[in-house]
Amino acid sequence: MKTPRERLSINAYLVFFLVHTVQIGLGIVGVQRVIFVEARQDAWIAVLLSGLWIHLVVFVICQTLKQTEHDNIFSLHTFVYGRVFGWMVNAAVVVYFLMAYTSILLGYVEMALTWMYPDFPLWGGALILVVLTVYALYGGGFRLVAGVSFITFFMAIWIVVVVFQPLKYAEWIHLLPIFEATPKQMANGVLKTAYTMLGFEVLYIIYPFVKEKERAHRYAQLGVLLTTFLVAVVTVIAIAFFSPKQLEVTIWASLSMFTIVKFPFIERFEYVVIPLWLLVILPNLLMFMWAMTRGGKALFHVKQKYLLFVFGPMSFFVAILFKRRATINEFIDQVGWYGFWLSFVYPFILYMLVKYKAWMREKKQ
C-alpha cells in the first residue's frame, strides 16, 4: 500500500488523542463490576497489569510497523501469509472491527435507553448513530477522525474532575486486604479488562498516516498511559465507594457514582453525562468504521466512501438482531474475547512472522 499523501497525514501528537479516545469508550462506564467479580478488591491491580501488558504490546506493534514504515496490518498480512490466506486473515480483522463498532453502538444505545428513554426503540438509536458515522466519514476521511478525537477529548476530559466528588463517601477499608487475589483470579481480571482497554490495535492502521513516525510510538504509549490511569482511578473509586455486594450488581458503576454529584443548577448529573458520552464514543465509532472501510478497500479494491454504505447498514442490521440486555452483554463479552486475542496476543506472533519473512527474503537475495 502506498504512503498516504502529505496533505492527508497527521502530526505525531495526534496519535496520543487517537489512541486514547479510541480506547476510552463504553467500557470505563461499567468496567468496575466486571473486574471486581473476578479479582475482588484487587481489581485495580488487574487494570494496572493489563495496562503494563498494553504498553508492551504497543511497543511490539510499533516495532512491527517500523520494518517498512508504510505498511498497515492488511498489507502486512498479505506479505506474511500470501495473497489467499492473507485475504482471509484480513477479512477476519475487518469482521472484528465490524463487531467492535456494533458493540459500541449497541452498548451506548442500550445505556441511553435504559437510563433516559425507556420507550425509545433500539433500532432508532442505532440508526441515528450509524447515520452520524456515515455522514462524518463521507467526505471526511482520516483527518476528520483525528480532528473529532482531538476536540472531543477536550470536550469530555473535564468529567474526570467530577469523578472525585463521590470520594466524600469513600470507605478506603474496602480496598484491603491487598494482593489477595490468586494468579488465576488476577488473570481473569486482566482478561475482563480487555474490552475496556481495546482500541489501540488501530495503531496498525493509522501508523502510515503519521508524519513524524519516530515520535508516534512515544505518543501512543502516552495515550495508553492516560487510559490505564483513568480506568484504574475509576476502579479504585468505585471499589471504595460501593460496598462489595453493591458493586457486584451495579452494571454502570461510574454512572451510578455520578448520581450523587450535584451542582447548584444540575440535580441529576448522570443525565448530563450520558448525552455527553456520545462525544466520547463518537471517535470510537468513527475510528472503527474508518478502519473497517480501510480494510474493505484492501480486500475488495472499492473506494472507502462507497464501502461506508455497505458496512454502515451491515452493522445496523447486526445491531437490531439483539433484543435484550443479556444477549447484548454476551455479544460484548464475545467482542472482548476476540479483541483480547487479536490485540493482546496476536501482535507478538505477527511481529515474529514479519521478522521471519523479512529475514527469509533477505536471505534469498
Partner: protein, 487 residues
C-alpha cells in the same frame, strides 16, 4: 452637434446604442477637423472645456502625436478600433479624433459619483479608527494605501463579468502572503464565467469552497484598519468596485468572532470580552434547545427549588415546550427582521412595542412562560455579540434545527446536534485551508491570536494559520528580555 457623413463617429454612435447623451464636438483648427466624442452624463464638463477644447483650440500644430505629448491630462491612451473607442467613452473618457488620422486619442475626464467617507455602521467600534470603505474602488484603494505604506503591497487588477465588466483588485503583501493562497484566489477569479457580479458578497459566494453550508467562508469587512491588520498577518483582500465591503480570505471560524477592538483594548480586557462573546454565542445556540430538552424530557435534572419556579411560570401555558420556544424565537426573529427593514426612527419604536408590549402580553395571556422569555431574549442578545453580521445570522438560524433535535430526543438530541456541528465544521475549508484552525489542526502559538489576547510582546510571530512566508514581526527574544531592578 454635427455628425459627419458615414464615418467613424457614426460607427461609434452605433456601438453606443445611439445614446441620446452621446455627443460629438467638432472643431475646425489649422485646417483640420477635430472631433471630440464623449457621453455628456459621465464627464466633468469644466475639465472638458478648459483642458481639452480650449487647449486644442490654442494649438498651432494639431496632430494626435502632438496632442498626446502636450495635453494637460494625466490618463491618456491611444486607440485604433471603434470598439476600443466606444468602451473608453462608456467609461467616461473623451475620444479625440482628427480626420485623416487612423489613430485616436482617449483622455480620462470622467467624473464618478460617490458618497463621501463615513463612519462604519455594520461593524461599529468604540475605540480605534472609524472610517469605512465606500462604493468606489479608487477611493478604497487610496484608503488602503494610506493605511499600508509597505513597499511590498500588491494590488493586482482582475476584470470579471462578461457583460457588466467589474474591476476587482486582489491585494496582499507580497513577501508575507502565502503563494498558494494567492494563486488559488487568482485562479478562481479567472475561472469565473458569469455575466455580472453585483457585490463583493456575491463574489464571496462565487469563490466558496462549499456551497451547501450555512457558515460564511469569507470575512466581509468595511473597516480599512481591519483589512490592513489582516493583510499584515498574511491574509489576502479582494476589493470589488461598487461595493463597500472587502473580502478577506482565507478565513477561519474564529476570526468571525474577533474585532479590531480586541487589539486596541488592553489584553486583559479583550481576553475577557472575547470570552464573554464566545459564551454569548454558545448560549445563543444552546439555551433554548436546553430549555426544550429539559422541560420536555428530563425535568429531574433541575434542582427542586428551580423546578418550582419554572413549573409555576409554565402552569398556564397550554403548549408543549417546543411550540412555545419556536413561537417566541419566531417572534424575536420577526422583530429583528422588521427592525432591519424599517427606517431607523420607526425601528426604535417598534423595538419597544415588540420587546416590551408583545413579550409582557404573551406572558399575561398565558402563551409563554417568563423563564422562556428571559432565555429567548438572552439568546437573541448573544447572537448580536458576533462582530460579523453574517456569522450572527448563521447562529440565529443554527438554533432552530437544534431546538427541533432537542424536542425529538432531548439532551441526546442536542449532543447529536453538537456532533453534527463539530463534524461539519471540521469538514469545512476556506480557500482550501482548514476552517477550524487553530483548534484543529491545533496551532498552539495561534491561540493567542484567536481565542485569547496576550500582552503585545508575545506577538513576535505572525499567525501560522495564514502560512506567512515571513513570520517574523519583531524579535520577541529582545522584547522578553528581563532587565535587572535598577538598570
Amino acid at each position: 452637434m454635427w455628425f459627419t457623413k458615414k464615418n467613424r463617429v457614426d460607427d461609434v454612435a452605433k456601438l453606443l446604442a445611439h445614446s441620446p447623451d452621446f455627443m460629438c464636438r467638432r472643431i475646425r483648427c489649422q485646417g483640420k477637423i477635430v472631433n471630440v466624442l464623449f457621453l455628456s452624463n459621465l464627464i466633468n464638463h469644466d475639465h472638458l472645456q478648459q483642458n481639452v477644447l480650449a487647449f486644442i483650440h490654442e494649438q498651432k500644430h494639431v496632430s494626435i502625436d502632438e496632442l498626446a505629448r502636450c495635453l494637460p491630462i494625466g490618463a491618456i491612451r491611444i486607440c485604433e478600433t471603434e470598439k476600443e473607442m466606444a468602451s473608453a467613452i462608456r467609461d467616461g473618457w473623451a475620444v479625440i479624433s482628427i480626420e485623416q488620422e487612423k489613430r485616436v486619442l482617449a483622455v480620462n475626464i470622467a467624473e464618478k459619483v460617490e458618497r463621501s467617507l463615513e463612519k462604519a455602521e455594520t461593524e461599529s467600534l468604540v475605540l480605534g479608527p472609524k472610517i469605512s470603505f465606500t462604493e468606489s474602488i479608487d477611493t478604497n484603494i487610496r484608503i488602503l494605501r494610506q493605511n499600508i505604506t509597505d513597499k511590498h503591497l500588491v494590488t493586482e487588477k482582475v476584470e470579471i463579468g462578461e457583460r457588466n465588466k467589474l474591476e476587482v483588485r486582489v491585494v496582499y503583501i507580497q513577501d508575507i502572503a502565502d503563494e498558494t493562497n494567492v494563486q488559488t484566489v487568482k485562479q478562481r477569479l479567472s475561472e469565473l464565467r458569469i455575466d455580472e457580479v453585483i457585490d463583493s458578497s456575491v463574489l464571496a459566494q462565487l469563490l466558496d469552497d462549499h456551497a451547501y453550508t450555512i457558515f460564511p467562508q469569507y470575512l466581509l469587512t468595511e473597516l480599512p484598519d481591519r483589512l490592513a491588520y489582516s493583510l499584515m498577518k498574511g491574509r489576502i483582500g479582494i476589493f470589488v468596485d461598487r461595493s463597500p465591503t472587502v473580502i478577506v480570505c482565507p478565513t477561519t471560524f474564529f476570526s468571525f468572532f474577533e474585532t479590531t477592538e480586541d487589539i486596541y483594548l488592553r489584553w486583559t480586557m479583550s481576553t475577557i470580552l472575547r470570552a464573554v462573546r464566545m459564551l454569548g454565542i454558545f448560549a445563543s445556540i444552546f439555551l433554548s434547545p436546553l430549555y426544550v430538552a429539559v422541560i420536555t424530557y428530563h425535568y429531574e435534572v433541575i434542582p427542586s427549588a428551580l423546578l418550582l419556579t419554572i413549573g409555576e411560570s409554565r402552569s398556564r401555558v397550554p403548549f408543549p415546550p417546543v411550540i412555545e420556544a419556536l413561537f417566541l424565537e419566531f417572534m424575536i426573529e420577526l422583530l429583528r427582521e422588521a427592525g432591519a427593514r424599517l427606517p431607523t426612527k420607526v425601528g426604535q419604536t417598534m423595538g419597544i412595542v415588540g420587546g416590551i408590549v408583545l413579550g409582557q402580553a404573551a406572558v399575561d395571556a398565558g402563551f409563554t412562560s417568563n423563564v422562556l422569555i428571559i432565555i429567548v431574549a438572552l439568546s437573541a442578545l448573544g447572537s448580536f455579540t458576533a462582530p460579523s453580521y453574517e456569522m450572527g445570522a448563521t447562529i440565529r438560524i443554527l438554533r432552530f434545527p437544534i431546538i427541533l433535535l432537542a424536542a425529538l430526543w432531548g439532551l441526546i438530541g442536542i449532543f447529536i446536534g453538537v456532533s453534527l456541528l463539530l463534524i461539519h465544521l471540521l469538514k469545512l475549508t476556506s480557500l482550501g485551508r482548514p476552517y477550524l484552525s487553530p483548534v484543529y489542526p491545533f496551532r498552539f502559538a495561534d491561540i493567542k491570536y484567536s481565542l485569547i489576547r496576550l500582552p503585545i510582546k508575545f506577538y513576535g510571530e505572525r499567525p501560522k494559520t495564514n502560512r506567512p512566508k515571513n513570520s517574523r514581526r519583531f524579535s520577541w527574544r529582545e522584547a522578553m528580555k528581563r532587565k535587572d531592578l535598577d538598570e
